[in-house]
C-alpha cells in the first residue's frame, strides 16, 4: 500500500458545524443484558454438574442436558427478577424458551442427518456398494460384497412410472380446478383434498388388494409404482392447484383482452408463470414418493438382484431395502441399511436443492 504523505492534507474550508448531538445507538445492550444469559448458562452448568456428580443418584448425558436447560431457565429468571420488572423477566424467559425450542429442533435434524451418514461410512467406503446388487450375497459376507444398485435402479424405475402417470393427471386436474372451474371443479377439489388424508399404508393396501389379490398381478415394480401414484397424485394435484391459484388474475385478463383464447392464455401465460410453483409441487411429490416405505412394502416384493422390467417379478427400492436390512437384525445388514439410507437421504437432498433453486427463481421474478 502506498501512503501519499507528501500531499498536504487540507482541512475542508467549511464552518464548524453546530455541536452535533451524539447519535444514540438504539440497539445497545446494557452489561446486564449482555452477561446475564452466558452467566446463567455457566452457573447452571456448574450447579447441575455438582448435583450430578455429588448430590443426586442420576447420570446420563440427555438427563444432564435437560437439567442444565431447566436450571438455566430458573437462574435466568431469578437473575432478571433481581433488576427488572415482571414484563422484562417474562420477555427474557420466553426468548430463552423459544430459542431453546429452535435449538432442539436444529439438533434433532442435524443428529438425524449426521448419524445416518456416520453409521453408513463403513458401507459407503466401498465403491462396489453402488455398482453391485445383493444376488448371492450371504448375510455373513463382508461389506465389500454386494450393494444397492438394484434398489437404486428399482427406486428410479418405480418413481419414473409414477411420475409419468401422476404429473399429467395432477397438473391437468389442477388446470381444470382453477381455470375451467364450475360446480364439478369444486367437487373434484373437495375429493382431491380429502384424498391427501389417505394414509400411505392404506394406499399400498388398496393396490395390494385390487391389483395383486383381485387381478392376479405379480408383486412387481409396476404395482409399487401404482401404489406410489395413488399416494402422490393428490399431493401433486393439490400443490399445482395452489400454484395456479396464486397466478395474478390480472395476467389472465390481460391475455384474454389481447384476444387470445383461453387455451392460449393457459398455455402461454398461466402455466409459464406458475412453472416454479408447479415444479415445486411435482418435486415435493417425488420426494415423498421416493422416501415412503409403506406403499412399496406391500406391493413390490423385495428382489435381491438387478432387474429392469417393472412388469414381471419382484423389484427392490431404497426405502424397502433399508427397512428389510434393519429388520433382519444382522450387524452387517444393518450397516448396509444405513448405507442405503444415506443414498436415499442424498437423493432427497439433491431433489430438495433443485426445488429450492426453482422456488428462488419464483421469488425473484
Amino acid at each position: 500500500m502506498t501512503v501519499l504523505s507528501e500531499r498536504p492534507v487540507r482541512a475542508p474550508a467549511e464552518p464548524t458545524p453546530p455541536a452535533r448531538e451524539p447519535r444514540r445507538d438504539v440497539r445497545s445492550r446494557s452489561v446486564d443484558e449482555q452477561l446475564s444469559v452466558p452467566g446463567a448458562a455457566v452457573s447452571a452448568f456448574a450447579l447441575v454438574w455438582v448435583a450430578f456428580t455429588y448430590v443426586l443418584p442420576w447420570s446420563g448425558k440427555v438427563g444432564f442436558a435437560f437439567c442444565w436447560l431447566l436450571a438455566f431457565l430458573v437462574i435466568l429468571t431469578a437473575l432478571t427478577a433481581l433488576t427488572s420488572p415482571r414484563p422484562v423477566v417474562v420477555n427474557r424467559l420466553m426468548s430463552a424458551l423459544v430459542s431453546a425450542a429452535a435449538l432442539v429442533v436444529g439438533l434433532a435434524l442435524a443428529s438425524a442427518v449426521v448419524y445416518t451418514l456416520v453409521r453408513s461410512a463403513g458401507s459407503l467406503r466401498h465403491l462396489g456398494f453402488f455398482t453391485s446388487d445383493m444376488s448371492g450375497v450371504r448375510p455373513t459376507d463382508p461389506l465389500t460384497r454386494g450393494g444397492v444398485l438394484h434398489a437404486m435402479v428399482g427406486s428410479i424405475i418405480e418413481i419414473a412410472i409414477a411420475v409419468t402417470i401422476t404429473v399429467p393427471l395432477g397438473i391437468g386436474t389442477a388446470v381444470f380446478m382453477s381455470e375451467v372451474g364450475g360446480r364439478l371443479a369444486k367437487v373434484v377439489r373437495t375429493v382431491v383434498e380429502a384424498m391427501t388424508a389417505l394414509p400411505s399404508i392404506v394406499a399400498g393396501l388398496f393396490i395390494y388388494t385390487v391389483l395383486i389379490i383381485a387381478l392376479g398381478f405379480n408383486r412387481s415394480g409396476f404395482a409399487a409404482a401404482m401404489a406410489i401414484s395413488v399416494m402422490i397424485l393428490p399431493i401433486i394435484a393439490r400443490g399445482s392447484d395452489i400454484a395456479l391459484r396464486i397466478v395474478p388474475n390480472g395476467l389472465r385478463e390481460a391475455s384474454l383482452a389481447l384476444g387470445s383464447s383461453q387455451w392460449q392464455t393457459v398455455w402461454r401465460v398461466v402455466l409459464p408463470t406458475a412453472r416454479p410453483g408447479l415444479t415445486t409441487a411435482v418435486i415435493l411429490g417425488i420426494a415423498r414418493g421416493v422416501g415412503e416405505t409403506s406403499p412399496v412394502l406391500l406391493t413390490s416384493g423385495a428382489s435381491t438382484f438387478l432387474g429392469f422390467n417393472p412388469l414381471t417379478g419382484a423389484m427392490n427400492s431404497l426405502p424397502l431395502y433399508v427397512f428389510s436390512a434393519v429388520r433382519s437384525g444382522q450387524t452387517l445388514y444393518i450397516a448396509r441399511g444405513f448405507g442405503a439410507a444415506s443414498v436415499l437421504l442424498l437423493l432427497v437432498l439433491v431433489l430438495f436443492v433443485i426445488m429450492r433453486r426453482l422456488a428462488r427463481q419464483q421469488a425473484t421474478r
Binding site: 429442533v105 395432477g170 383434498e193 388424508a197 388388494t209 394435484a237 436415499l344
Partner: protein
C-alpha cells in the same frame, strides 16, 4: 347487417337511429372447447380414481362390519385364527402415539416458528425456512433409524427415570421394578413413548411451516404499535402475533395430527405388537392401525384382508375428519383467494 333508417318524423327532427343491444357471444372457440373438455375429462378421471379408492374401502368394509358388528370397535384382540377381530386396542395405540408425538412436536414447532419469524436475524430467516422444509423431506425410514438406534438407548433411561419418580401416576407406570440394580431394560423399549419421537420429528416441520406462514402475515403495523407503546418483544408476540395466528396454530397442529395418525414405518421399526387395552406409554408394546396392516397383510386371507381394509378405512375417516377441521381453521386465518395484480 343492414339497418333500415326509420322514416324521418314529420316535424323535421333529425332521424333517430334505433340502437339495439348487440349480442355479445360468450361462446368458446373450437380450440377452447377441446381444451375445456380435455381438462374436464382429466378432472373427472382423477375424481373417479380417487373417489373409487374411498368407495372401494367403504365397500370392502361392509362384510367385516356385518360379520363383527360393533364388536369390531370394542374387541381389542386381533386373532383371525380364532375369529376374534377388533381394533379397540389398535385405535387406542394409534391415538396414543399420535397424541404423544403431537405433545412433543407442538411446543417445538411453535417455538421454532416464533424463532424464525420473530427472533432470528433477517438474513438467516430464509435459510432457516429451507431447513424446516428440508426436514419435511427427510424420508420416514431415516427418522425410524434415528429413533431406533440413536434415541431408544437414551429414551429408555428417561422412561425408567420417569417411572422411578412418577410411577405412582398410572400414566407413567410400568409393570416392573425400576429401582432394581439390574433393571429390566426390555420393559422400557419398543414403547409408545419411544415410537412417538420419530413421529414427532416427522410432523414437526409440517406444523411449523403452517404456523410460520401465518405468523409472517401478522400485521406489521399492529406489531410496531405494540412495541411503540413500550411493550416488550414477547408482549408484541403475545398480544399481536399469536392472536393473529391462532387459526394457523390450531390448523397446523391438526394437519400434523393427521399425518401422525397414518405414520407407518418408523412405528413398525420401533414398537413390538401388543393388543392389551392399556394407557401406559412408557411400557413395552403397543399397536397402531398402520403397523397392524404392515404386519398382517402378508398372511391374510380374503376375509382378513377385508378386516384390514376396514381398519384402514376407519383410519382414513379419522384422518379425513382431522384434516377437514384443520383446513377450516387454516382457511379462516388467511384469505385463500387468488392474488390480484
Amino acid at each position: 347487417m343492414t339497418t333500415l333508417l326509420p322514416e324521418a318524423p314529420p316535424d323535421g327532427d333529425p332521424p333517430l337511429v334505433q340502437d339495439r343491444p348487440r349480442v355479445v357471444s360468450p361462446g368458446f372457440t373450437t380450440g377452447d372447447q377441446v381444451f375445456r373438455r380435455g381438462t374436464t375429462v382429466i378432472g373427472v378421471l382423477v375424481l373417479v380414481i380417487t373417489g373409487a379408492i374411498g368407495l372401494f374401502l367403504g365397500y370392502q368394509s361392509i362384510p367385516t362390519l356385518q360379520r363383527y358388528g360393533l364388536g369390531f370397535f370394542t374387541e381389542n384382540q386381533w386373532r383371525p385364527e380364532n375369529d376374534v377381530i377388533g381394533i379397540s386396542s389398535t385405535l387406542l395405540g394409534t391415538l396414543q402415539v399420535a397424541l404423544l408425538a403431537l405433545a412433543m412436536a407442538f411446543p417445538l414447532a411453535l417455538g421454532t416458528a416464533l424463532f424464525i419469524t420473530e427472533y432470528a436475524p433477517g438474513r438467516l430467516r430464509s435459510g432457516l425456512v429451507s431447513l424446516i422444509d428440508l426436514m419435511a423431506a427427510i424420508p420416514s425410514i431415516v427418522w425410524g433409524l434415528w429413533g431406533f438406534f440413536l434415541i431408544q438407548p437414551h429414551a429408555k433411561n428417561i422412561a425408567r427415570w420417569l417411572t422411578e419418580y412418577a410411577g405412582w401416576v398410572p400414566f407413567f407406570h410400568v409393570d416392573t421394578d425400576p429401582t432394581a440394580a439390574l433393571w429390566a431394560q426390555t420393559r422400557f423399549t419398543s414403547s409408545v413413548f419411544i415410537a412417538s419421537f420419530p413421529v414427532a420429528m416427522m410432523i414437526l416441520p409440517m406444523a411449523c411451516a403452517v404456523m410460520r406462514g401465518v405468523f409472517a402475515q401478522a400485521p406489521a403495523g399492529e406489531r410496531e404499535a405494540a412495541l411503540a407503546l413500550g411493550g416488550t418483544q414477547w408482549g408484541a408476540i403475545r398480544t399481536v402475533v399469536i392472536p393473529f395466528g391462532q387459526g394457523g396454530i390450531i390448523g397446523g397442529t391438526m394437519l400434523a395430527l393427521g399425518r401422525a395418525l397414518g405414520e407407518t414405518i418408523a412405528v413398525v421399526l420401533i414398537i413390538s405388537p401388543d393388543f392389551d387395552l392399556k394407557v401406559r406409554p412408557l411400557e413395552v408394546g403397543t399397536e397402531t392401525v398402520s403397523a397392524l396392516i404392515a404386519g398382517r397383510f402378508g398372511e391374510a386371507t380374503s376375509a382378513q384382508l377385508s378386516a384390514l381394509l376396514t381398519a384402514g378405512f376407519v383410519l382414513f375417516l379419522i384422518t379425513l375428519v382431522v384434516n377437514t377441521v384443520a383446513a377450516i381453521f387454516v382457511g379462516r386465518s388467511r384469505s385463500g383467494s387468488a392474488t390480484d395484480l
